[in-house]
């Protein structure tokens, strides 16, 4: 079975540093996958490579078997790969509903809805993420958690088959995280493959079936959350040699 997304030896350099260095893994349709790693591990860079914002310096990325390396971001989006930004990028002068509607107007090629249909779709997406009540507000009136929801909503409106979420939980308190997890589960249940880049372990353990750990641009581990998180190399990467030794009891 051809994987939905297949990364082979993906490499991206900035100056002399390889931010992503030979990363290889595949994602099957409908998975809900977590990508973790200490700061600077190359998670966002990897995401940018997939969505076409960065050109690869080596390797290939395949979508349903066809190479998408080098495609412009809008083409990758049209194929059905949606993404959010770590620092949200809303369309400031539009209302919440309009932001999401624009996502519905463009997005994946499977449909090209007319204006009215796009707005209707926006409403149902807003319902899904829990922003229905705030649909007519300007973006400036939203709190940070709500702006993150909006970011997700807009990406969902593009009818993605694969959704890449970049640190959606950053800065949220426990209650807000629970709400956000609800939202991610709801999106996943509609059949979208979800990849979560996260720092918050509760999220990974709570919702991901599989976790990939990156460190210094390379894959360190790939497996079920409870196994990966007990992996010594992972602990060492996150907490450092000394603490890992202490945990080991030595």
């Amino acid at each position: 079975m051809t994987p939905q997304l297949d990364l082979r030896n993906v490499t991206k350099r900035f100056g002399g540093v390889a931010a992503v260095d030979g990363v290889t893994f595949s994602i099957a349709k409908g998975e809900i996958l977590g990508v973790i790693g200490p700061n600077g591990a190359g998670k966002t860079t990897l995401l940018n490579c997939i969505s076409g914002v960065y050109r690869l310096d080596g390797g290939d990325i395949r979508w349903h078997g066809v190479s998408i390396a080098g495609l412009a971001p809008y083409r990758v989006a049209r194929l059905g790969v949606g993404r959010t930004f770590q620092i949200v990028k809303p369309f400031g002068s539009m209302t919440v509903r309009e932001n999401v509607a624009v996502g519905a107007l463009f997005g994946s090629d499977s449909e090209r809805p007319p204006l009215r249909a796009a707005f209707d779709r926006a409403d149902s997406v807003l319902e899904l993420v829990g922003l229905r009540m705030k649909a007519d507000l300007p973006v400036s009136a939203l709190t940070i958690p709500d702006r993150k929801r909006l970011e997700v909503a807009r990406a969902v409106a593009t009818r993605p088959k694969l959704l890449l979420l970049d640190e959606v939980m950053a800065g949220l308190n426990n209650v807000e995280i629970d709400d956000a997890l609800e939202m991610v589960r709801a999106v996943h249940e509609t059949g979208v493959t979800v990849v979560l880049i996260e720092h918050v372990m509760r999220v990974i353990v709570g919702v991901c079936e599989r976790v990939i750990v990156l460190d210094l641009g390379r894959t360190l581990a790939d497996g079920q959350p409870d196994v990966v998180l007990r992996d010594e190399r992972v602990i060492q990467a996150y907490l450092g040699e000394r603490y890992a030794r202490r945990l080991r009891g030595g």
């Binding site: 076409g52 990758v76 989006a77 049209r78 930004f85 400031g92 539009m94 509607a101 624009v102 997005g107």
Partner: protein
Amino acid sequence: MTTSQRWQRILIVLGCAVIAYAVLAPLTSLDGAQALNLPLLTDKLWFRLATITAMFVVMATAWNIIGGLTGYAAFGNVAFFGIGAYTTGMLIAKAKWPFLLALPLAPVAAAIFAVLVGLPLLRLRGHYFAVASLGVGVAVGELVQNLDYRGEPIFGGASGLFMPIFAVPNRDLYFFYLMLGAAGVSIAVTWAVIRSRFGYGLIAIRENEEAAAVIGVNTTAYKVAAFALAAALTGLAGGIFAQWNVFIDQENSFPIAYNVEMILMALLGGTGTVFGPAAGAVVLQLLIQFLSGSLPITLDLPFVPEDAMPVLAQVVLGVLLALVVIFAPRGVIDFFGGRSRLTVAYLRRSLRETSI
């Protein structure tokens, strides 16, 4: 009714009155109307000023598509005006085409030029794009004036290009309605764009180009299309101008001042709205004409000699530009659209937002 709603009503009524006046008043100059002893509301001067005003409505509204909606503040759109003017002018003067056949080629030529120039230029951001587009405006004008072929100026050179007068009864009225029609087309096009998928795409590009790209907007194609659309409309105005004025040269077809005037008009009226630039164009054009002494009402300043008036007018324009930019960056329509109220507090707040 709230104050803002009342202001909106007033503005709409005012707007309709102006449009009705503009459309109907010229009819009083027709022989048939004169035979009915209707008062003559328009004369040669009226037609000249009104046609120029309509011309600026076209240009300001067109600029708004690339500058206001898409957020790429082009500073050299006068190049398209001149290209339109010279396309029509050359076809009429050199190739002996009839006016109405030559006119449609003006927007086409301008749009083609916009696509060619836009592809590299629109990759630039901010300052770079602004000055590069300014450079285009200046350079095209200079090239048109100075390009020679075997010693002969191709486009008429410094002495310009003359066209035969377009023989039509009530010529002033004819060209006014033609330019007014172009203004109507500009506004209609803007109206259609703003509520279309294309328009939303443009606004998305303006608000956050990277986000627009990742949700599937082909930003390059959209930007170039917006640029070409603005160019076509501006070129149309140029084409009409050429035959109306009968004579074109670098000075009247590529005036650098037009670049800033059209932007100021859009800013004054409110960028990103359908009627804003048009309103700004009418108001500013009246002001400019008043300052240049072209209106029947003139100002007699005791200590300023007659010939210094146009220069003083430019000074006033500069001061006005500075004031508008400093105090009211969101434009006048912002007030009357109900989003803000024209109070000292608003001006002060606006100032605080932008100063250090």
